[in-house]
Structures are given as structure tokens and as C-alpha cells.
């Protein structure tokens, strides 16, 4: 399995990877710093799952998701974000996200959420 982790924070990308390992997901990890870079890497790397932050420079997570779906790409997609209002959740689901994990999270959060998706 290949997972694309998208976050403008290097530390947070590292933490997501660590949590994936703790949750038992033995995956190849690809990283991107913003939505635009992630869009390019989705095409070149063809990940099975995308875990993306919401607020990022250059291209936000929701803009990335909309561009992805607008281009006909249906790769499984979830948000991992520090902010998760009901409006954001509705927007995420409406745009084609499978889930939204809010921080703080732990390995159990990842297990419970991702096992139903991948």
C-alpha cells in the first residue's frame, strides 16, 4: 500500500507517518508540502490513499481534493486537520473525502478510521 501524506509541516508529516506505523499500517509513504505538490505526486506516484491537511499554502487541502475529483481521480482521500467544524466536515464529504480525522489523534483513531476505508 502506498500512502501520500500532505502537510506543510515536516514535523506533522513525520507524526502522521509514525502514527500510521503504530496503527499497524505497513505502507510506503510519499510526502508533499501542499496541495499543488500533492496533485503532481498523485499523478506520478499513484497512491492508494491520501491523508491531507486542510490549511496549507499554495493550494489548500480542499482545493486539492476538488482539483483531484475534478480531474476524474477517485483515490481514497481523508483529511487530518487541527480544525474540524461541522461545516468543514460537510464540505469535505461533499467534495468526496472519506473521513476527517481531527488532531489530537492517536494510533487507535487511525486504526478505527482507516480500517473501514483501506
Amino acid at each position: 500500500m502506498k500512502i501520500l501524506v500532505v502537510d506543510d509541516s515536516r514535523a506533522m508529516r513525520m507524526i502522521v507517518q509514525r502514527t500510521l506505523r503504530q496503527a499497524g499500517f505497513d505502507a510506503t509513504i510519499v510526502e508533499a508540502e501542499n496541495g499543488q505538490e500533492a496533485l503532481d505526486k498523485t499523478k506520478s506516484e499513484k497512491p492508494d490513499l491520501i491523508l491531507s491537511d486542510w490549511n496549507m499554502p499554495v493550494m489548500s487541502g480542499i482545493e486539492f481534493l476538488n482539483a483531484l475529483r475534478g480531474g476524474g481521480n477517485n483515490t481514497k482521500f481523508g483529511f487530518v486537520t487541527s480544525e474540524s467544524t461541522p461545516a468543514m466536515r460537510a464540505q469535505a464529504v461533499g467534495s468526496g473525502a472519506a473521513f476527517l480525522i481531527s488532531k489530537p489523534f492517536n494510533a487507535d483513531t487511525f486504526k478505527d478510521t482507516l480500517n473501514g476505508v483501506v
Binding site: M14, I15, S82, N106
Partner: protein, 164 residues
């Protein structure tokens, strides 16, 4: 969005603060409500939480050694330099940048459906100087909560939450 007639931003609960530190640092960080608190420290690292109009509605201040310790532990940096931190001026830029991740998650916890939407603004060393609105918030908050934090192997100190 007007901030009139809305509730104050919520203070993160103790278990939320603990969960944030434990998640980000992958350590069993001890967090307890401080019971013997008189006045906040004059120095430290402060994270400003602002509404969509830029108003400072809340702030999270930590002792310099907590910012340094958390910043180091976040990316498994050695604890040695943290022990030398005496004031916020001693906090390395890398530690400060890493600490911003913790501040960002804590700011996210300060949103609710009945309060103004807020996001993390600047994260600064108090030694570098504070803007007037932040000084005023620290001096006259409507609510102030204090927590004792112990990051195993790195540092211990206090975390203060100020809400306008």
C-alpha cells in the same frame, strides 16, 4: 463574523491538552491542573489565537523550557540543549518552529459552534516583545487556566491559557 453575542472561545480541557502533547511527542506527558497559582510568568513563549478579523481572543503561554522541551521532543532532538534554556531568548528557532505544531493543535481545540472562529496567529518569544493587544489580553483576561506539564526526559513547567 461579528464577535458580538457569541460565547468566549473555549479553553481546551485537561485531557485535550494531555492528548495533544502525548500525540505529538509520542510520550506519556503528565498534565495536571495547577492548584497553587498566583500570577503568570513574565517570560515564556506565547501563541496568539485570533478570530477571522485578527482580534486576539486567546493566548497560550508556556514556560521557555516547555517550548524548548516540546520542540525538541517533537522531532526526537537531544534534550541536552533544553536543560540550558533559562529564558525565552534561549529557545532555538527550530524548537520554536516545532512548538508551533503543538500551538496549532491547541488553537484548533479553541473552536466551538457558539464561539468565534479562531486560528493560530503568531508564536513568539516574550523576550522579543508583545503587541499591545496581547499585553492587554494577558493582563485582563476573562478567564485564565493554568496547567503543570512534565515532558519525560526533557523539561517541566507551566502552560497558561488566557481568554478574552
Amino acid at each position: 463574523m461579528s464577535t458580538q453575542a457569541l460565547d468566549p472561545v473555549p479553553v481546551p480541557r485537561l485531557e485535550e491538552i494531555k492528548g495533544t502533547f502525548c500525540m505529538l511527542l509520542a510520550k506519556d506527558v503528565r498534565v495536571e491542573q495547577c492548584k497553587s497559582y498566583e500570577k503568570h510568568s513574565d517570560d515564556g513563549v506565547i501563541s496568539i489565537v485570533r478570530d477571522d478579523e485578527g482580534n486576539a481572543l486567546a493566548a497560550v503561554q508556556v514556560d521557555a523550557k516547555i517550548a524548548a522541551g516540546a520542540g525538541a521532543a517533537l522531532t526526537l532532538m537531544p534534550a541536552g540543549p533544553v536543560k540550558e534554556v533559562k529564558t525565552s531568548a534561549d529557545v532555538f528557532p527550530t524548537h520554536l518552529e516545532n512548538f508551533r505544531e503543538i500551538a496549532n493543535v491547541l488553537a484548533g481545540l479553541m473552536n466551538s459552534q457558539s464561539s468565534p472562529h479562531v486560528t493560530l496567529g503568531e508564536v513568539i518569544r516574550i523576550a522579543d516583545g508583545l503587541a499591545d493587544d496581547v499585553r492587554e489580553l494577558r493582563a485582563n483576561p476573562t478567564r485564565r487556566d493554568v496547567f503543570d506539564i512534565d515532558i519525560p526526559g526533557y523539561s517541566a513547567g507551566r502552560l497558561y491559557v488566557f481568554v478574552r
